[in-house]
């Protein structure tokens, strides 16, 4: 497969000055990204996750040409982003989840007309792309509405369309589903899946929502302290982190702990409610079926492990292994 | 009315908040000093062409300039005090929450602005004033009593300044346009306070009018007390009358605004 994004021992070092006394200052170097190497093939859809301050957004900023790396080699579509920022801009799309680039007081369509001219998109292609995006993202009735009147979900869809009008080969999404309701999340995810499948657009997305990754990405990269700590399938991440999901079961009455098939086990009992932990890599269906068959059930729900917990666990395990 | 102990804490909070902007404060000191320099030279030329204008000699005119620069941020002549935040809260509707708090809205914001003003006087006012006094001939009093009287008048000036800005800010309940209100505040604040020219140097009838308007209580009156051109009691009566009148109007407008919020549900 052709490597579309290539990072070779990329580094980003910031100098932080901290006030330590009335006039005394301390200088300290912070390695936000540390010898980071990976490649992403054209047409891949990759989740890029990690705790806050891990170096995620610094990486995205280097990939988009906003920041200049302090060391290493970085190429996107064969271009050095920091040197040829404007040339690359024509070939990439960026969506910042919490920051709209749409014109607040103007109808949505006006922002698209601006993109049309700013990116010098040929008329025919602009019209074709607009029609397609309007249809897929269900924007038809929103085009004439001032952006300030759109809901968060509508605005996110509007922003995604704005980032795709010029047919970028790669799309960077920073927390695309943050703050969205369930329906909007589903719609955004469906669209991204289609985009990736039909147009082979390379997608790199950062998120705190594991479901985004689960439903969209065949591959996930985890960064922590500026280093890549995992690169592979999501299922593998759960194994690596020994991530566990939790099944919360409400029974009709108080009962002794449910006898679940290993490795699932009851971790907590509170009156008629019981918590069962089971490996995140295994489907919940079998376990659920078994409980339904054998116990008087009122309600149940599955809780996903959150990314922070998985990564924390990965770290704990790695340290354990390092010190036998 | 709520607990009285709240307000000193609000004063301290207001002070602290502005004290964190060290770089901005230094930048402000620099700018006030530069503007002071420009004004000083123009006033020197004006008073050279017309000695004794407005009853001031050259040294008094120079003192007036540096006093204006020293009080510029403290009395927020062109805005930039608590009213910015208050107007934003009115615009976003968050004010509805404030109205149900067990504190007095007007007093709460006054306390907040006092904290800000004290910091601005110390942080931004002192350096330009000292600079002016060091490099230009000024007419500063030697007696401690005069400085004491001046401080008293300064506090009264702050209350009047607050009362004016409170009224402007409350207009946001009826006017949607914050930009226009800010501009009106700026125009009146700079011109009628005597930031561009001492009010006693204004000609004829215009001069007589601006000297009795509330804005005169902010810069002209403290300057006259400091330089012995006005008696303390005279100054305090003038400032006190305006302060009471404007604060009272502020309360009336506030209750009208409250009714409006309650009726509209925020």
């Amino acid at each position: 497969m052709e490597a579309f994004i290539e990072l070779e021992r990329v580094e980003k070092v910031f100098e932080v000055r901290r006030r330590t006394g009335f006039l005394r200052r301390e200088r300290r170097q912070v390695r936000a990204v540390d010898a980071l190497s990976f490649t992403v093939a054209r047409g891949e859809m990759v989740g890029y996750i990690g705790p806050n301050g891990a170096g995620k957004s610094t990486t995205i900023k280097m990939l988009t040409g906003i920041l200049t790396p302090s060391g290493g080699r970085l190429r996107v579509a064969g271009i050095d982003p920091s040197r040829e920022r404007t040339r690359l801009a024509h070939r990439m799309g960026v969506v910042f989840g919490q920051r709209t680039t749409l014109w607040w007081d103007l109808p949505l369509i006006d922002s698209y007309k601006l993109m049309h001219r700013m990116y010098r998109i040929p008329d025919a292609r602009y019209r074709e792309n607009l029609d397609r995006l309007v249809e897929h993202l269900d924007l038809g009735e929103l085009l004439d509405v001032p952006v300030r009147q759109l809901s968060l979900g509508q605005r996110m869809r509007g922003d995604i369309a704005a980032a795709l009008l010029h047919d970028p080969e790669v799309l960077y999404l920073d927390e695309p589903t943050i703050g969205l309701d369930v329906v909007s999340k589903t719609r955004v995810r469906d669209f991204l899946r289609e985009l990736n499948a039909e147009r082979a657009t390379t997608v790199l997305l950062t998120t705190h929502d594991l479901q985004d990754i689960e439903q969209l990405c065949s591959r996930v990269m985890v960064i922590d302290h500026g280093r890549l700590v995992y690169d592979g399938a999501l299922a593998g991440l759960h194994e690596a982190g020994e991530g566990e999901r939790t099944l919360v079961v409400d029974l009709e009455r108080e009962l002794p702990p449910i006898e679940a098939p290993a490795p699932a086990r009851v971790v907590r009992v509170e009156g008629p409610r019981q918590w069962l932990a089971f490996p995140a890599s295994e489907p919940a269906a079998g376990l659920v079926a078994r409980i339904v068959a054998e116990y008087p059930l009122v309600d149940l729900s599955v809780r996903e492990p959150d990314i922070e917990a998985v990564i924390a666990k990965m770290y704990a395990d790695r340290t354990d292994r390092a010190v036998p | 009315m709520g607990s009285w102990r709240v307000y000193p804490a609000v004063v301290v909070g207001g002070f602290r908040r502005y004290a964190t902007y060290r770089v901005a404060t230094a930048a402000g000191v620099f700018t006030n000093t530069v503007f002071g320099l420009i004004l000083v030279y123009t006033y020197l030329a004006l008073w050279e062409a017309r000695p004794g204008l407005g009853g001031y000699d050259q040294a008094q005119a120079v003192t007036y300039v540096w006093l204006g620069q020293a009080l510029f941020a403290m009395l927020a002549f062109q805005g930039g005090g608590f009213e910015v935040e208050l107007m934003e809260r009115i615009r976003t509707g968050e004010i509805a929450v404030d109205l149900y708090r067990p504190v007095d809205l007007q007093l709460w914001w006054l306390a907040n602005d006092v904290g800000r003003a004290v910091f601005q006087l110390l942080g931004r006012g002192v350096v330009p004033f000292v600079f002016g006094a060091l490099f230009f001939p000024t007419a500063l009093p030697g007696e401690v009593a005069v400085w004491g009287a001046f401080l008293l008048v300064l506090m009264a000036a702050l209350v009047v300044s607050f009362a004016i800005r409170y009224l402007f800010a409350l207009s946001a309940f009826w006017l949607l346009d914050g930009q226009g209100v800010a501009q009106a505040l700026m125009v009146t604040g700079l011109f009628c306070s005597g930031m561009t020219l001492p009010l006693n140097a204004f000609p004829g009838g215009l001069g007589e009018v601006v000297r009795v308007l509330p804005w005169a209580a902010q810069l002209q009156v403290p300057a006259d007390v400091l330089m012995g051109e006005s008696a303390l009691w005279e100054a305090l009566v003038f400032q006190g009358a305006w302060a009471v009148a404007l604060l009272a109007v502020g309360r009336l407008v506030q209750s009208a605004a409250t009714r409006r919020v309650v009726v509209q549900g925020g």
């Binding site: 200049t68 910042f96 | 901005a24 930048a27 530069v34 020197l44 004006l46 062409a49 226009g180």
Partner: protein, 273 residues
């Protein structure tokens, strides 16, 4: 000519973005009219002050009212144009602080054009309009032996003045890459500069005039050319023809401003703050 094509690209992008902001403003038409009037009033205050001064005296620093009005008109018109075109660069610090500056860096057009056109405020025409009115009156009222050279000098001076002030706005904006909270320092040079130039050079201390002539050459916005128009001696011995040096001085201002801007942007892209 890569530089030239980038400049054309920048002007085009500026037009596009400014157009969007004008349309945004027009979404609140009544408010717009109100703020234009307010802007006229606010920026006119300086001239009202000058009028008040001249109600008490016949001359300031030896210059008459029409002569001071000429200084005022030249300074304010040039500043008005510069502020309309580049004034928004002054709010760059805010964009850097809230992180929205990054969104400008992923667009395929020059960043300076985007920053300058950001929140393009048409209401600022108030200042320029008011400056032109005063300038027009002053040109009629002053006593000048008009020649072709002197007639040409007026528009050339306005344009060069606008360029000099624009350079100041850009350099000040670039300074905010380093110190985001120090926006007010810039005001001392921009607003302070235009205020200073509204009064005759004879009013100010010799060192100040020297600094404003040779170090930060604001004097070429109006003092030097106006002294030539009015046949008045300039407080410092300047060579013959200095009044026509405006274009050269403007160029001398633009080059370092552009360099400082590039430096600031580079520093932002390496530090991210």
């Amino acid at each position: 000519m890569r530089g030239a094509s980038r400049a054309v690209e920048g002007v085009r992008a500026y037009g596009l973005i400014a157009g969007m902001w004008i349309r945004s403003t027009m979404a609140y038409r009544a408010s717009f009219v109100l703020t234009v009037v307010g802007n006229l009033l606010l920026t006119g205050l300086d001239f009202v002050t000058i009028l008040l001064m001249f109600s008490q005296v016949d001359a300031l620093g030896g210059w008459t009212l029409p002569e001071v009005a000429l200084l005022y008109g030249l300074s304010v018109t040039a500043f008005g144009i510069a502020q309309l075109a580049f004034g928004s660069v002054a709010s760059l610090g805010g964009r850097v602080r809230d992180g929205s500056f990054d969104t400008l860096l992923v667009r395929p057009v020059p960043v300076l054009a985007q920053v300058a056109a950001d929140r393009f405020a048409l209401r600022r025409v108030g200042r320029g309009v008011q400056g032109v009115v005063v300038l027009g009156w002053a040109l009629v009222a002053v006593e000048v032996d008009w020649s072709v050279g002197k007639v040409l000098l007026v528009p050339v001076t306005v344009v060069c003045g606008a360029v000099i002030f624009s350079a100041l706005f850009v350099a000040g904006g670039a300074f905010q890459f380093l110190a985001q909270d120090a926006a007010e320092v810039q005001n001392a040079f921009t607003y302070g500069g235009t205020t200073l130039l509204q009064y005759p050079p004879s009013v100010f201390g010799r060192d100040l005039v020297r600094g404003v002539t040779f170090v930060l050459p604001l004097a070429f916005v109006n003092w030097v050319p106006a002294a030539h128009l009015l046949g008045r001696p300039y407080p410092l011995g300047l060579p013959e023809g200095a009044a026509f040096a405006g274009p050269l001085v403007a160029l001398v201002c633009v080059l370092p401003a552009a360099a400082v801007w590039r430096l600031g942007l580079r520093s932002y892209r390496s530090t991210g703050s």
